[in-house]
Structures are given as structure tokens and as C-alpha cells.
């Protein structure tokens, strides 16, 4: 069901100049932050708790709970993760380019609520236009006194630094991001300590939140947490920005009320995806970014709901939905995804560094028609050595979750399309006609 919930994070997208300060101020910009400054820190945090805002980065951890875990210390940091680099995920890209002030305002609200000493926005370096606009927005925010000393005449002062990433996907992993921010190689940190909220940037307690999470905060402060929680169902509250791509007629971004809308709505509704291209049948779809296990037509009626998708064996993740139709070669699709992960492995720990490359080579070989009968068992077993048991959520033999993400598409596609894999091996070529 498509609800008529008003958009929250994309509400300015109708304007050509949505990224500009003038437009932002005209449309209620910084009102949320100003309101927050009149509230106590605890009240602001309470509103976010009441909103039960789930982190929009991929793991879906409740933002309010993350903030409450922050160890008290004289110095603490807020780091905004804008290193969105995964194929098919492009929601933060939109927000950075089209509404940078909203991110900054959200970050300021969060920093105020948690009492951070400094804000860093770690933004993907390849967002050339977005970075320019974000930096421009930051400069403007300093000029109008939204950032800096005694903000808007209050006793609250904070600085914000925008840090462009250097091109590594792994720096989207929060501890690798922190390492990179500290000027080191982007290697994920080994756990324990488990949470940056205990030991994060420069060893200080740190909240790491996603761009989209921040973008929701001005609205939540202005309209109250309860209004946000009234949208959606269960733990999946509010609206969420979905990035739809693949073989659909109308790919793009859609901000939809959570839970109530289904994957079928998203893909087939004429106002949304408008169906599979060229009228073909849907073969499979990825419900939450390329690190998520695939779904088939049988899961189309699931709601865009974190818990429901999780129970069905995958994840809503980064909110990226990729559609494959009957002409899509699943081996090639799995190979392309695996190739991405294997190239983006940081190389620190063995299973991911070596396993990713190995899996990629086997898949490529099968796709090129040089597969062997034993390859499917081998693929599954190598996947098992990365993510023991191939359970969901996955167990891992690695330091971070990049490694166990690799088996998602491989194991799910083999389970769903074993015959197609066999056909590749048997016929010595790709039966779908892709190279």
C-alpha cells in the first residue's frame, strides 16, 4: 500500500535550488536546531528515542540507543558517515547534493543532544559536486552563526569539519572510517572494544551516524518524536529513502513510509518503479544493498520493514533495491557483486582478502563456461569458511562484516538458481547469452 505520508528528508527536492541556504531558510531551515537549542539535551535525545529512529546506514541500529551508549568523557566526537560507495546505493549521494544544510542541521542537533566536542562529516571523495555543496553549506552555516562559537546566541559552541574520503569502500565501515579520519590506513579495528561509543575517534567516545539518519533529525525535533513514530509500523518507524535500480521502468529514489509499503508496491506501482522493463517477469531482487541475500518473487509482498525482511533471511540494509528480470544471468550478477567486494577488501585479514578473490575467480570461470561440477559445492564451502554456517545474520571469521557479506549473493543465488549454475557448467557457456 502506498501511503500519502509527506516526505521528510526529500521534502525540498522539488526545488531546483534546494541545496542553497536561501531556499533552506525559506523552507524552515535551522528551525529544528533553533528549537533544539531551547530544549534540554536530554529532551532532544528523548524525542529521538520516542521517534525510534533506526540508523539508516545499513545495520539499522536505533539512533537513540546508540547515543545513550556514549561513554561520558570530557571529549567526545560526532562523526557523520557519508562514505556511501556501494553499487546500487545512492540515497546519501542525493541528500549530500540536494540538501546539504539538512545534514548539517541534523548533525548539529545530534551534537547538541550528545554533548559532542566536534563534528566530522566523512564524505565519499568521489562526490565532487556534493562535496562542493556540502562544504559551501558548511561555510554558510558558519556565516549565519549556526556553527561555531555561541551558536545563535546560546552557550552551545561546536566546530564541523568535512573530510573527503580517499576512495576506499571499506572506509564506510565505521571503525575503518575512524582510522582513516585519524590519518591512518583504512583498516577496520578489531573488536573489542565493540563500539566507537566506548572508544572511537582518537580513543574518545564517538557516535558514528549515517547522513540520512541525520537528515531526519530537524523534522523530528520540529514535529516531535511521536509524529515520526506514528509513521510506519512496529520498530520500523518514519519514512525511508529507497534507491531502486536494475531492470525497472522507473529507477530512482523514493521516500516511502516504512512497513506499510511493500516491495511489490515499490517495484510495480506506476508512480514508483512502474514494473519490470519490457514487461519481462521478475526473477529476483536484492532487498537492501548488494551485501544482502537475494529474494525471489515469493517475497514481493513483504513490507519495507526491517524486522520482516530480517525474519525472511535478508536485510533492508542500505535501502537499495535491485531488480533482476528473467533475462538477467544470476551467475554474472553474483560475480559482479563478488568482484566489487573482493576488490574493496581492505586486505587486512585473511578470509576476506583471499576468500573474496578466490570466489570471484570461480564465479568468473563458471560464467565464462569453464566451470566444473564440483564448483558449486566448493563455492558454498568457501562461503562457509567466510561466514560459518551460512546463517542469517551471518557469523564471521573476519574482523569486520565485509567478509561475511560476500557469501550473501553467492549462497542465496545458488540456493535459488542452482539449475542455472548447472546449465553454465553443463553447456560450457552462459545460457543467458551474456558474455
Amino acid at each position: 500500500m502506498i501511503t500519502n505520508a509527506a516526505p521528510i528528508v526529500t521534502r525540498r527536492m522539488g526545488y531546483e535550488d534546494s541545496h542553497k541556504l536561501s531556499r533552506y531558510l525559506e523552507t524552515g531551515g535551522y528551525d529544528g536546531f533553533k528549537k533544539a537549542l531551547t530544549m534540554s539535551r536530554e529532551d532532544v535525545a528523548d524525542q529521538v528515542n520516542r521517534a525510534s529512529l533506526l540508523g539508516r546506514g545499513g545495520a539499522g541500529f536505533p539512533a537513540g540507543r546508540k547515543w545513550s551508549m556514549l561513554r561520558s568523557a570530557t571529549t567526545s566526537y560526532l562523526v557523520i558517515n557519508g562514505d556511501e560507495s556501494e553499487p546500487a546505493t545512492f540515497k546519501d549521494h542525493l541528500l549530500v547534493e540536494r540538501d546539504p544544510h539538512q545534514i548539517i542541521e541534523g548533525a548539529l542537533i545530534c551534537a547538541y543532544a550528545i554533548g559532542a566536542s566536534q563534528i566530522f562529516i566523512f564524505c565519499r571523495g568521489e562526490f565532487a559536486l556534493g562535496l562542493e555543496r556540502l562544504q559551501q553549506a558548511c561555510n554558510e552555516a558558519y556565516e549565519i552563526g549556526a556553527i561555531g562559537k555561541s551558536i545563535f546566541g546560546s552557550s552551545f559552541s561546536i566546530d564541523l569539519v568535512i573530510h573527503p574520503g580517499a576512495g576506499a569502500y571499506i572506509c564506510g565501515e565505521e571503525t575503518a572510517l575512524l582510522e582513516s579520519l585519524e590519518g591512518k590506513r583504512g583498516f577496520p579495528r578489531i573488536k573489542p572494544p565493540f563500539f566507537p561509543a566506548v572508544q572511537g575517534l582518537y580513543g574518545a567516545p564517538t557516535v558514528v551516524n549515517n547522513i540520512e539518519t541525520m537528515s531526519n533529525l530537524p523534522w523530528i525535533v520540529l514535529n516531535g518524536g511521536d509524529a515520526f513514530a506514528a509513521l510506519g509500523e512496529g520498530s520500523s518507524t518514519g519514512t525511508r529513502l529507497f534507491a531502486l535500480s536494475g531492470r525497472v521502468n522507473r529507477p530512482g529514489w523514493y521516500e516511502l513510509e516504512m512497513s506499510k509499503t511493500t516491495f511489490r508496491d515499490l517495484i510495480f506501482d506506476p508512480t514508483l518503479g512502474a514494473g519490470v522493463k519490457e514487461g519481462r517477469a521478475l526473477k529476483a531482487f536484492i532487498p537492501g544493498g548488494v551485501s544482502a541475500p537475494w529474494f525471489g518473487p515469493g517475497e514481493l509482498d513483504l513490507g519495507l520493514d526491517q524486522d520482516a525482511v530480517g525474519k525472511a533471511g535478508s536485510m533492508l540494509g542500505s535501502g537499495s533495491v535491485v531488480v533482476m528480470d528473467e533475462s538477467t544471468c544470476v551467475v554474472r550478477a553474483a560475480w559482479r557483486i563478488t568482484r566489487f567486494f573482493s576488490r574493496e577488501s581492505c586486505g587486512q585479514c585473511t578470509p576476506c582478502r583471499e576468500g573474496g578473490g578466490w570466489l570471484e575467480q570461480i564465479l568468473r570461470r563458471i560464467e565464462e563456461g569453464k566451470g566444473r561440477e564440483t564448483d558449486l559445492d566448493l563455492l558454498m564451502d568457501v562461503c562457509d569458511n567466510l561466514a560459518p554456517g551460512l546463517t542469517w545474520p551471518p557469523q564471521q571469521t573476519t574482523i569486520c562484516v565485509l567478509g561475511p557479506s560476500i557469501p550473501s549473493s553467492i549462497a542465496s543465488s545458488i540456493r535459488m538458481f542452482r539449475d542455472e549454475y548447472h546449465a553454465h557448467i553443463r553447456e560450457g557457456r552462459c545460457p543467458m547469452g551474456s558474455r
Binding site: E354, N385, T397
Partner: protein, 893 residues
């Protein structure tokens, strides 16, 4: 495990963990992998190294560990034990994870074991056999890269073989403090690399080769020299400097091919410097002596032991007859073993009757000071509250002591006060006091809070800061918790100044301990054996000689002899008729070369007892070849006074003898007898007659205490020797090689009722001498005029010395010969960086290249010790041994 907890302070609190069903007690903070190993369960590993921080990257040590959400796979090298924890190392799930990781490691690891140096002693090979899958399922292309690339002068990297365990990169940054290598690129293309403009040029680079668990890092000196199964080895003690690192010497086909560091908690903790690691090449150098040489008139000719010893005894007997025993002198001995040194001390003092014996060459400190100051061990130094370093650059002189000290400063915030005339390798970790050479005694008196000391010309702020550091450190009564490191780091500042500084500190902080930084391998052992004027074996003065010694040695020399400089001065006046040089290149090593030249020209008979041809053997009348490092057994004593065995692994070249036999034969030829016929008999005599060495004989040094050695003197408390088994994964290459060598038979006191470090008090006579030094007025050099520069003469690790220059790998690495001058002074002189200028003393003027160095004080200029080009002049030509400092004028050309 780090520097901190390695020495195992007992903590009463323990936790119980279950490992494979057995309950094990562990200390909180211990790693699962260590606790399991103690319980007899070996968990396979690659990146874990007991002397470095864990990183958990190789994932080889995954085991199942219980947690709040049930069992999960966790790296046992990274996880600390917790009460009630349950660990399963061998469940199907754990075994599958381990096998999986090994299979992953082999995905891109080339199977070139047959041509890999590591094959046969390779942890990857071994653990694949023990824990890996039997067959490969990988049929794809492995990654390919050009075979070894040189990433530094003594390290080659084969990136194909690298398993990214980060041991080398961690060693470089964590242990050596020089992050010159790191990972580059990512995914399976990740590689270890140096930085673009800076090679991996580190004194400690060889350690990365040793700890590499595969054949990725190799060292050119060993590459393709041998296979592990063709190696034989013997544990020994490094004789590259006086730290006395524990090593194994490995040989193949009768030649030394490799030295590896052995983990000894008190000393080197498995690390070596590259000079110690590759210096063995000098043993097989082309300038080794193999036959006795004799000059019968014109030039040295090859001779026989018979003729050469006859010539020695003739000249000795003639000198005794005509001029008396004081016309005979001995210089050198710091490269001998304790037993060799004892034999020569007995030859000189008991048989010939001369006291002019000195193991130091004018570049050390007064023997009574070195022997008389209360001593610290290295472990005490790294645990001290404050360490004061007196004008030493430890990385250049005693590299592994620098490693230990640096790490303790970084990890434990031990405060270091670095009193030096130049910036040293410890400066950036220290509170530094810079001064112009000559002022050391004033500086230490001022920072210790002495009033009535003239502070003119010193940096008040730095002195105040050091003083605060010292007073805020919470030292105990009498300076307990303070350790002072002193030696001759600057040959431009005379020994009397350093002695005055050290003795003053001893007066002000009577409970402070001292660590000698004298650098020649066994200089401390030689001094202990009596190779110093006025001293007898076992750190006693003539006056304190025991009845037993008098009974054994007979009458002692009637008069006190002179030290090396005194001997050379007497020689220059024609008073020395026979001069023995004991492994000392007097013409190159004595820092007053003019004096050495004048002296040697006047001595009718110079008898060089040596291992290599050098400038002194060329000028000698008789040259007697002796066995060197790796070619003879015995004991050596390090800076702490730790006695450890050095072991024969190969036979010496030609007809070279162990040095003690030469002493014994000379005694016999002049109609006497040293009274011993074997190494063990010497050792028994030392243990019986040398008070500080009471009970410490070769048997002990080769028994329980063999690896850690014994710090002498040993007190009444029993020594607790923790001989940990060597971890074959931590130190690959040692336990895979068969132990052979020449174990010495055990003596009567082998498992003695000995020891403990309670007996560190020096003898009363020595204490009086040190007190007298401390009570004397401070020795301070007079101030120079403003046109004069003061020369600081400093050693670099790779110098012009015989050992380095005879090692083909090290010789090219020696520092360039140049004078370092402050750039503003260069501007004043009108000389540009890299150009030549004239350096002038009252004696002579020499041309040198200059290097601008903005770190220097403007009045200070620096020259490397002995850095002369062959046949030209060098720093030692500028030194006048009579002066407190070396004042020079600089002139443009």
C-alpha cells in the same frame, strides 16, 4: 605481551578458564593463546608474536569461545581470558575455521618451497602439515609479482610469498620506532612496502627477516646460502657490542652463515641489531690471520708458532733482564673471552710482573669507576622511574639497549633525561639538556639540585625542566629508582669529565644504579678479569687481594701500572720495550692517533695478538693469530655484569689458537706456568679466585643459566632462572635446526647453590675510589672563545672498525665522512652545505666536507669517530688525550 608484563610479576588474582575441557588458572589480562599454550594446547598462529601487541589479523588462531550469546569463533591471540570462559580449540567448527584460513593463506602463496630459503623451517609449511587441508582446491592463477625487490640495504621482499601477518610492519613501528614499512594497496593486491623516498634502512631491519613466518623477507647475506636441514647451530652470545644479546650461530659446511636472536627476557628479548646479526661475515673475511707472522728485519713473513713464540719469549726475557717488568705493557683485551682475559691478566701480573695492562684504549672510563659504581641490570633500567643518559646515542653504540629503553619509555612512560651535546635517538622521547662538550659534570650537578654550581652558558630552561622531571619522578630515598647510563658517547669530551659527572651523581643519589655504556664486546669481562691497572680478577683492587690469590699467583707487581694512554706516553718516551696488543688496533682505535703513532714507532717489539690484519698488525714485530667469535668457547660479561657463554661453532682458520693458549704458551716459553691446561680449569680458577665471579664457572654458564646467563656477583639468594622454551613460530629458524656445537663438560658447581641479584655491592676499595672521585671538584672544561668550535666526536654503528669493514654486507653502509655544522655558522664562514672547509687544531689542519645540521648548538661541530678515509686524517688525529675537550677553528678554503 609487551615489555611490561613479560617479566611476570606475580599477581595474586587469577581467573579460571576451561580450555578443551580442562580448567586452567590464568592471570587477568593474559591472552587465550598464551594460557592455552601453558596448558599444553598449541593453537596455530602467524601474526601473534609474544613480544609484540596482538592484532588478530591472520585469523589462524580462531577458536570457539563462550560469550553472552553462546559460542563464537574468536581470535585467541587477541582475546583476554575472563572468569568462567570456555574455550574449545578442536571442535569441528574451530578446526574447519583453522583449515579454512590455512587454505585461504595458500590461495596466493606460491608453492616455491624447493627454492625458498624458508623451506624446512617455515611456520606456514609446518602448520599446513599440522592443521591444514591435505589437498588444494584452488585451480586459479595465483597473483604474480616480480621476485624479490630490495626494500632496504639488507632486506629483500618477495611479495608473492607474503601472508600479510603485519609482524614486520609492527616490529618497525612498535619495537624499533621506525615506521619505514607499511601496507600499500588493498585486497589480495595488498603488499608491504617502504615509502617512496625512503628505503627500509634500519639498524634493526634483520629482525623483520627473522620473524617473517614465510620466506617473504630475506636477507641478502643469507639468501641461497644454505638449507635449514644442512645447518648446525650453537647458542652463543653476540660479540658485536657489550649488550651481549643471546644468539644462535648457525653454520653450514664449516662456515658461519646466519645468526638469529634468541629470546632472553633480561637482555635482547629475541631482537638483534644488524651489526650483531651480520657481523659474523668478518669471521670469514679475506683479511683474517691464519698463520703466525714474524718480522726479522724488513717485513712480516709467515712463520710458525715455534719461531714466533721464541721471538716473543726472547724479547720479553730481554726486556725483563735489561729494563724490568714495567718496560712491558699490554693494551687491549675487550674482544677476548673472560677466560682468555684471565689468562693474559695472569701472564702480565703474575708471570711477567707488569701492571701496565688496559683493556680499554683511552676511549673508555676509569676502570675503578666502571667496576665500583652500583650496577643496574637492563631490566632495572627499563623499569626505572627515571633514566639519565649521559651524552650517549645508544642506538649507535648499544642498539638493543636502545630498543629496550625506547619501548619502555613509549609504553610505560619511564622518564628519560638525555644530557647530550647533540640530538640523540632518544631525544624525542626524553627531556633533553643540550650542552657544549666539557660541561657534562656541571649539567648533572645542576639538574640534581646542587647549588653553588656555575650555570653560566647553560640552557636554564632545559635544566629547570630536567630538574623538575627528576624531582617529580617520585624517586625513593637516596635516588632509588634512578638509573644512569654512562659511557663515552662523545670522544671529544674526556673520560675525566664523564667520570666526574657519574661520581657526582653517585654522591648525590647513593641508591641510584648505573648501567655502563662502554661498547666493546667483552670490555666489562676483561676489566673484571683484571685487565686494568691496579685491578685484580673479580673487581678487587691490588690492596684487596686475597690470600688465596697470592698463593695462586705469587707476588704482585711492585708498582701500579699505567692505563693505555699512560702506556703509550711512556712508549713514546722510549720506556716501553715490549708492547702486547690484545685484539686491539692501537693505531686506529686509540683516540689520539698522533700519540699512538709516536708510541708504536718507539717500541722495539710489538706483539699483536689478533684475528684480522689491521694497521697495528702491519706495524708489529710478531703477529699471533687467534680464534675469534664463533671459533672458541668461553664466557663473556655484558654491560650488566651478566656472564653468558659464547660458543665455538666452527674451527678457526689456519693454525689460529684460542687466545688463552697463546698466553699459556708464552708463560711456558719464559719459564713459568699459568697452571691450567683447559678452558675449564681457567674457569674453575676464576670461580675460585675472582670474588665477583665466585662460583660462576663454565659449568654454570652452560647449565640451567645457559640462556639467561648469570649476573655477577651472585648473592646468597637462589637465582630464579626462567628458561622459557623457544616458540618456533615466534622465532622461526631456531628450533628447526639441529643443535650441535661444542657443549662444554659440566663442572662440579654446575647447578650451584647460587645467586640472586642481592650482591650487587662493589668492593670497599672500589667504593672508596668512586667516593673520592665524587668528592673531588667537578671537572669542567674551560670556556672557549667565540671563534672556537668544540668538537663532538661520535660513533656510528657502522663505522670504520675492523668488524664492520670486514663484513661485506655492512662495510658499504658506513656513514659518510663529514663535519656537521650549524647552517648559520656555515653562512658565517661562507661555506655551503656539502662543500669542504679546513678544520684546524693546535696540531694540524685537515680538509673535510660539511653537512649543515640545524639541530646542533652553534658552538658545537660533530665528526664521526674513526670515519677517516684510508690513508687520510680523521677525527682521532684531532684528539689530544691530555685535553679535556677538542677545540677547533674552522676556516673556509
Amino acid at each position: 605481551m609487551t615489555e611490561l608484563d613479560m617479566s611476570t610479576q606475580e599477581t595474586p588474582v587469577t581467573v579460571s578458564v576451561t580450555i578443551d575441557g580442562n580448567v586452567v588458572q590464568a592471570r587477568p589480562g593474559e591472552l587465550i593463546i598464551e594460557v592455552a599454550e601453558r596448558a599444553g594446547v598449541f593453537i596455530p598462529r602467524f601474526c601473534y608474536h609474544p613480544r609484540m601487541e596482538p592484532v588478530g589479523v591472520c585469523r589462524m588462531c580462531l577458536v570457539e569461545v563462550s560469550g553472552p550469546r553462546g559460542f563464537s569463533l574468536q581470535p585467541s591471540c587477541y582475546l583476554h581470558v575472563a572468569e568462567g570462559q570456555e574455550v574449545i580449540t578442536n571442535s569441528p567448527k574451530a578446526r574447519k575455521a583453522q583449515e579454512g584460513v590455512l587454505e585461504f593463506l595458500l590461495v596466493n602463496h606460491p608453492l616455491d618451497c624447493p627454492v625458498c630459503d624458508k623451506g624446512g623451517e617455515c611456520p606456514l609449511q609446518d602448520q599446513t602439515m599440522a592443521h591444514g587441508p591435505g589437498e588444494t582446491r584452488f585451480i586459479e592463477q595465483k597473483r604474480h609479482w616480480p621476485k624479490p625487490i630490495d626494500i632496504g640495504p639488507l632486506v629483500s621482499l618477495d611479495r608473492e610469498r607474503c601472508i600479510q601477518c603485519a609482524r614486520c610492519t609492527r616490529f618497525a613501528s612498535e619495537v624499533a620506532g621506525e615506521a619505514l614499512i607499511d601496507f600499500a594497496f588493498r585486497s589480495s593486491e595488498i603488499e608491504v612496502a617502504p615509502f617512496a623516498l625512503e628505503p627500509f634502512s634500519s639498524y634493526f631491519a634483520g629482525n623483520t627477516v627473522q620473524i617473517c613466518p614465510v620466506g617473504a623477507l630475506t636477507a641478502p647475506p643469507y639468501r641461497f646460502k644454505s638449507r635449514p636441514w644442512d645447518l648446525e647451530q650453537a647458542e652463543s652470545t653476540c660479540e658485536g657490542c657489550a649488550v651481549g644479546c643471546r644468539t644462535v650461530a648457525q653454520s653450514s659446511a664449516g662456515a658461519l652463515v646466519r645468526y638469529l636472536g634468541v629470546d632472553v627476557d633480561g637482555v635482547n628479548q629475541s631482537w638483534l641489531c644488524d651489526k650483531g646479526r651480520y657481523g659474523f661475515e668478518a669471521v670469514h673475511a679475506s683479511n683474517r690471520l691464519s698463520l703466525p707472522l714474524l718480522n726479522r728485519g724488513e717485513e712480516l713473513e709467515e712463520s710458525t708458532w715455534h719461531d714466533a713464540l721464541l721471538a716473543v719469549s726472547d724479547s720479553v726475557q730481554e726486556a725483563l733482564r735489561e729494563y724490568g717488568p714495567s718496560s712491558i705493557a699490554f693494551i687491549g683485551g675487550a674482544r677476548l673471552t673472560n677466560e682468555d682475559a684471565f689468562a693474559f691478566a695472569k701472564l702480565a701480573k703474575a708471570v711477567i710482573g707488569t701492571d701496565s695492562v688496559d683493556a680499554q684504549l683511552g676511549d673508555g672510563l676509569p676502570a675503578e669507576l666502571v667496576l665500583g659504581l652500583p650496577r643496574a641490570t637492563i631490566n632495572e633500567a627499563v623499569k626505572a622511574k627515571v633514566v639519565i643518559v649521559l651524552n650517549q646515542d645508544l642506538r649507535e653504540e648499544l642498539p638493543v639497549l636502545f630498543l629496550r629503553l625506547r619501548r619502555s619509555v613509549v609504553e610505560k612512560s619511564t622518564a628519560v633525561i638525555d644530557c647530550s651535546s647533540v640530538t640523540t635517538s632518544l631525544s624525542k622521547y626524553a627531556t633533553s639538556v643540550r650542552y657544549v662538550p666539557g660541561d657534562l659534570a656541571r649539567v648533572v650537578a645542576l639538574i640534581s639540585g646542587e647549588s653553588n654550581v656555575d650555570a653560566l652558558g647553560l640552557d636554564q630552561d632545559q635544566i629547570e625542566l630536567a630538574k623538575m622531571r627528576l624531582s617529580a619522578a617520585g624517586l625513593g630515598d637516596g635516588g632509588e629508582g634512578l638509573v644512569i647510563v654512562c659511557g663515552r658517547g662523545d670522544l671529544g669530551e674526556s673520560a675525566s669529565i664523564v667520570a666526574s659527572a657519574a661520581a657526582t651523581l653517585h654522591r648525590l643519589f647513593p641508591k641510584a644504579r648505573f648501567l655502563s655504556a662502554l661498547r666493546r664486546a667483552n670490555v666489562h669481562g676483561a676489566l673484571d678479569m683484571g685487565l686494568a691497572p691496579g685491578m685484580l680478577p673479580g673487581r678487587v683492587t691490588f690492596e684487596e687481594r686475597s690470600d688465596a690469590l697470592v698463593r695462586a699467583w705469587g707476588p704482585m707487581p711492585a708498582e701500579r701500572g699505567s692505563d693505555a694512554i699512560g702506556t703509550l706516553e711512556a712508549a713514546a718516551q722510549g720506556k716501553i720495550k715490549v708492547l702486547f696488543t690484545l685484539g686491539a688496533d692501537v693505531l686506529s682505535d686509540v683516540p689520539d692517533r698522533d700519540l699512538a703513532k709516536r708510541a708504536l714507532a718507539k717500541v722495539p717489539t710489538v706483539i699483536a695478538i689478533a684475528t684480522h690484519h689491521d694497521s697495528t698488525t702491519s706495524a708489529a714485530t710478531v703477529v699471533l693469530p687467534v680464534a675469534g667469535e664463533g671459533e672458541r668457547s668461553g664466557t663473556v660479561t655484558n654491560i650488566e655484569g651478566r656472564v653468558a657463554p659464547t660458543t665455538q661453532k666452527i674451527v678457526p682458520p689456519g693454525v689460529s689458537w684460542p687466545a688463552w693458549m697463546v698466553a699459556a704458551e708464552i708463560a711456558r716459553k719464559i719459564g713459568s706456568d699459568l697452571g691450567f691446561e683447559s678452558l675449564f680449569e681457567i674457569s674453575e680458577e676464576i670461580a675460585a679466585l675472582a670474588p665477583a665471579y665466585h662460583g660462576v664457572n663454565l659449568g654454570l654458564a652452560n647449565s640451567d643459566a645457559r640462556r639467561e646467563g648469570v649476573v655477577v656477583p651472585v648473592g646468597p639468594v637462589a637465582i630464579d632462572i626462567r628458561s622459557r622454551p623457544l616458540d618456533p613460530i615466534a622465532t622461526p629458524g631456531i628450533s628447526s635446526v639441529e643443535e650441535q656445537g661444542a657443549p662444554i663438560r659440566l663442572g662440579k658447581t654446575a647447578r650451584a647453590t647460587l645467586a640472586g641479584d642481592a650482591g650487587l655491592e662493589s668492593s670497599g676499595g672500589l667504593q672508596r675510589l668512586v667516593r673520592a672521585l665524587g668528592a673531588a671538584p667537578l671537572v669542567v672544561a674551560p670556556r672557549a672563545d667565540s671563534y672556537t668550535y668544540r668538537l663532538s666526536i661520535r660513533r656510528t654503528l657502522y663505522d670504520q672498525g675492523t668488524l664492520v669493514q670486514s663484513s661485506s654486507s655492512l662495510a658499504p653502509l658506513r656513514a659518510p665522512f663529514a663535519l656537521r655544522v650549524h647552517p648559520q655558522e656555515l653562512a658565517r664562514l661562507g661555506v655551503k652545505d656539502g662543500e669542504e672547509l679546513m678544520i684546524r687544531t693546535s696540531r694540524l689542519a685537515i680538509r673535510v666536507n660539511v653537512i649543515a645540521d640545524a639541530d646542533l648548538a652553534r658552538q658545537v661541530v660533530v665528526l664521526g669517530a674513526r670515519a677517516e678515509e684510508a690513508g687520510t686524517f680523521g677525527a682521532f688525529d684531532l684528539i689530544d688525550a691530555q685535553e679535556l675537550v677538542v677545540d677547533v677553528r674552522l676556516e673556509s678554503i
